[in-house]
Each structure stands twice: as C-alpha cells, then as structure tokens.
Symmetry: C2
Subunit: 230 residues, 2 copies
C-alpha cells in the first residue's frame, strides 16, 4: 500500500473512533433520561461502562493524532482535521461526564415520589442527542450547513432550560417539600444544556474546519447565519 | 537568526499568549465576585471586554499552532506542547464564558436585598483563581508537581460547592421569598466549580505533557496521587 493510502486509512480510523464516541454519548443520554422517566435504575446500568469507554477512546484518539502529526507531517485540510479531532474527542468525553452527573441527580429523584410528569427534560434530551449526532455527521461529511443547524438548535435547548427553571421555581414557591427534587431537575436540565453546548462547540469546529473561517465568537447570535453566507 | 531560534521564539510567543489569557481569566473572576460582594455593578464593567479579548486570543493561538505544525513539523515534546496549547486555550476561553454567566446571576442578585453574607462563594472564587494561575504556571514551568496541587485543590472546591448547596437549601425551605436569590447563588457556585474543573483539565494536560502518561481518567479520585508517583 502506498503512503498516501496508508495515511487515508489512518485518518479514516480516527474518524471511526470519533463516530463511535458520539454513538456512545448518544446512547448514554438516552439511557440516563429513560431511567428518569421510567423510574427504573436498571435502565442506566451500563452508563458507567460506556463512560469508561469514552475515556479510553479519548486517549486513543489523542495518541493516534499525535502519531499522525509526528509521522505524516500533514498540512492544510488534513492538519486541521487532525487538530479538530483532538478537540472533538474532549467534547465527547465531557458529554460522558455530564451524563454521569445526570444519573447522580436521577438517583436522588428516584428515592422520592415523582414531583411532576417530565415533558421538557425528555424534549431537551432528544434535542441534545440529535445535536450530538448531527455535529459528528457534519464533521464526517464536512457539512457546514448541517453544523449550522446544530448551532441553531442550541437556542431551542436554551429556551427549554429557561422554561424548566421557571416552572420549577413555581413548584418550589408553592411547596417547600418540592425543593430538593426541583433542584435535582434543574441540575439535570443544566447538564443537558451543557451537553448541547459541547455539540455546539463541535459544530463550530466543523465550520472552522470546512470554511477556514472562525465562527466561534460571533458578536451576536443574530449575526451567525449572515456571517456564514449559508 | 537560525531556524531553531526562530522556532523557540514562536513557541515562546504561544506561551506568552496563554499566560495572558490566564491573567485575563483570573482578573475576570476577581471582578465578577468583587461586584457581587461589594454590590457595585461598575466593578465588573470591563468583564465583557476581557471576554472578547479571550475569544480573540483563543483564535490567535489556534492559528499560530496550526502554522507551527504546518511549517515547523515539530516532533516529541514540541509537538505535544503545541497540541496542548490548542486544548488549553479552549479551557481558558470557556472560563471567560462562565464568568459572563456569573455576572448575569449577579445582576439578578443586585436587584434585591442581600440574602446572606457571602463567605463560601468568595472562598471558592479565590481557590478557582489560584487553580487557574497555578495550572498555567505548571504548564509554563513544565511542573507536574504543581499540576498535581491544582488537581487536589479541586476537591476543596467541590466540597465548598456542596456546602453552599446545603446551606442555601435551608434558606429556601425556611422562606420561599429567598428561592430566586438562593438559586442564583447556587448557579454562581456551580459556575465557579466549572472554572475549577477547567483549571483541573489544564493541570491534567500538563501531567500528560510532562510525564507522557495519561492521568486524565483515574479510576477513583483516591488513586490519583499514587498513580503519579509524585
């Protein structure tokens, strides 16, 4: 096999590992929120195992990226791709940490009767999972339009987070016995919001990667679409 | 100037930019918490300006790192150093975002009479600032022992965060009128905890960088010091 084909294969391997990390992260979010909704702790049994696997993959990707940089001395797009991989793996690993936090809060909630039917939190989780998947799809497919969709979805997640907070404040005001559970739910909504933020970071890296322009710090959210000309 | 000296100078430039980012982050934390304690919004006037500067520096460091990787094709320690720089700049930039969140919560708090004298939150902020400074010092001085100190300080911050939560739960239970302010203070303590987490991430990168070993995912917190043989 010639050098170029070998290099392409190594890049492909890196891509596959990132996709695997994203799939694990997605599954973890799903299991943690299903545990909460079904009130059955066994649903999230595997979450710590997946989290360990995310940690391991993060290190593998860093090592593979460093080896590629040292041995292949890539330039231009390949270089940017590899450096992006070492940022994206950290984002995915932190999503794993956040899901672990969600299961801790869920543990507190499952010791007590349900406070209220959960609607907005599962909705936030669905959006966050979609954002994780699409951010990785946009990376693999080098698709800045899809990355832009991810960034825009983040506003919906933020909106839901505010809604969750407002609603739970009302519960707390009305009945002090609801406070501990309300706080746990507020924390869960914040963890989901941060998961969405990590997916947004990935999407911004993709736009940077594919367009060679930095959209990571637009002055106002409104400016984003125009800035991108997409 | 020969090529090696030119390269050393470029690496030095990268280091200086990271130190500058850390100094800005430290100042931002200080100003945001001083605003809260003094109840004087003008104290934090400059925070958004510093945040913009952090954003700008993050991009500059990424660009400089990519240029160095493409033109100098570094290996071994230099390569790891440059890749670490592209991770550390993201950590510092996110600290800036978190300080912005703190000022938003502070804004809510300053519209209402003080809920209680603030003791643990300023203490958390002092620890977080120290961690940011020392994590960067450990990077610049390639000092894994100092990095280890940063990682251990994180436990203190987590302890204070739990203490803040427990105390504020008591306030909320006793008086529903305290709930909104208590929630804002809980959020501020969480933002500070996350700032400490970012400093911990930097410290872990430093240990990885200096020892070529990955301590980023010890199985249990207890294993950390023994793992490192420091």
């Amino acid at each position: 096999m010639d050098k170029q084909r070998q290099f392409d294969r190594e890049l492909d391997e890196l891509k596959k590992k990132l996709i695997h990390m994203a799939a694990l992260a997605e599954t973890m979010i799903d299991k943690a929120i299903s545990e909460l909704v079904s009130r059955d702790e066994s649903v999230a049994d595997k979450v710590p195992v997946y989290e360990e696997e995310l940690n391991r993959l993060q290190i593998e990707i860093d090592e593979a990226a460093l080896t590629l940089l040292a041995t292949r001395q890539p330039v231009a797009t390949d270089l940017r791709f590899i450096v992006a991989a070492t940022k994206i793996n950290s984002e995915l690993e932190r999503i794993g940490d956040l899901v672990m936090n969600i299961t801790e809060n869920a543990h507190v909630l499952l010791q007590q009767p349900p406070l209220k039917p959960l609607i907005d939190i599962p909705r936030m989780a669905d959006l966050a999972r979609k954002m994780v998947r699409e951010s990785l799809d946009s990376f693999v497919g080098e698709d800045p339009l899809l990355a832009q969709t991810v960034i825009m979805t983040d506003d919906q997640v933020d909106g839901l987070k505010e809604q969750v907070l407002r609603e739970l404040l009302t519960y707390m005001m009305a009945d002090p016995r609801s406070i501990e559970r309300a706080i746990a739910l507020i924390f869960i909504s914040r963890h989901l919001e941060r998961i969405a933020d990590h997916a947004t970071n990935i999407a911004e890296d993709v736009i940077y990667l594919t367009q060679g322009r930095d959209v990571r710090h637009p002055r106002t959210p409104k400016e984003r679409p125009a800035d991108l000309d997409v």
